[in-house]
């Protein structure tokens, strides 16, 4: 039950934070993205943000919205949980490298985000009151390649 609470809590964190990424201009997200250039954490990442992300910002903003909504959705229902925990770690790292050195940031927010996803991955938390627990017997009894992949991702 506690693992399910952790998984759903982290899911709601992502779901809530999709809320302030507002099209069409995504102004708040642009401000945080610009922090990666103005307060660099890892210079190759800052270079990519400056020369690839910001010139194509609208595209990357929509991708961020869809990615974070998907992380929240899949973790909420506990489906392919280990895959989405890994994706959550990746997105948390990207956020960390964007804003870690920005003023008034508490760096442990981002370390704890990463650690929470590591915990979800390590414990396969979707098997605790998640759809992975319900679907794994079905995937196990199936001969399809997709089912075998989903067994590994859950």
């Amino acid at each position: 039950m506690l693992l399910a609470a952790l998984r759903v809590g982290v899911a709601i964190m992502w779901i809530e934070n999709v809320g302030w990424k507002r099209p069409p201009d995504f102004s708040s997200l642009r401000r945080f993205t610009t922090d990666a250039v103005e307060h660099p954490v890892f210079s190759p990442f800052s270079w990519i943000v400056e020369h690839v992300v910001l010139p194509n910002f609208t595209f990357f903003a929509w991708m961020t919205l869809l990615l974070e909504a998907s992380i929240g959705a899949f973790l909420f229902v506990g489906l392919a949980t280990r895959l989405w925990a890994l994706i959550g770690i990746g997105q948390s790292l990207a956020i960390t490298m964007s804003v870690l050195n920005a003023p008034n940031e508490w760096e442990w927010s981002y370390y704890l985000m990463i650690l929470a996803h590591v915990g979800i991955f390590a414990t396969a938390a979707g098997r605790s009151y998640g759809l992975d627990a319900v679907m794994r017997p079905i995937w196990r009894s199936s001969d399809s390649q997709l089912s075998r992949v989903l067994m590994r991702l859950s």
């Binding site: 992502w14 779901i15 302030w20 909504a69 899949f74 909420f76 759809l131 017997p137 079905i138």
Partner: protein
């Protein structure tokens, strides 16, 4: 009476959909978890009730309909938020929660339901161990 795990999952997701209206009680501008207002106050509980009844009665068509309707509402919300026309009156968080409920109900609604899909003892043990 023991319900099939897929029906239990559908009923749980339906109950979660119905419970989503509690998010409307949080009114802070920067800490509202999920924005559920306007037509969302109808969409979440009505479709959730449909899924709950489908799960409790084993009527998978109701689960599939609720899942498809949540998914359609998610797509509609994605297309409309940030625009002047916003039928569900939601934002990105509303979209993400609709997506979660639609995705989950469609997965359990269309999963094959036969004796082979009962959890094995290994899965039961895993779930019990995880719950500790």
């Amino acid at each position: 009476m023991t319900r099939h795990p897929l029906d239990q999952a559908a009923a749980t997701l339906g109950a979660a959909g119905m419970a989503s209206v509690v998010f409307t009680l949080a009114t802070s501008s920067n800490n509202n978890f999920v924005k559920v207002e306007g037509a969302g106050l109808l969409v979440f509980p009505v479709l959730g009730l449909c899924a709950l009844v489908g799960g409790l009665t084993g009527q998978r068509i109701l689960v599939r309909l609720a899942g498809a309707a949540y998914a359609a509402a998610a797509i509609l919300q994605l297309a409309q938020f940030g625009r002047s026309t916003n039928w569900i009156d939601g934002i990105g968080s509303t979209f993400a929660l609709l997506l979660a409920l639609g995705l989950g109900l469609l997965v359990v609604g269309f999963a094959p339901k036969d004796d082979r899909t009962e959890p094995t003892s290994a899965d039961r043990n895993s779930r019990t161990t995880s719950a500790r």
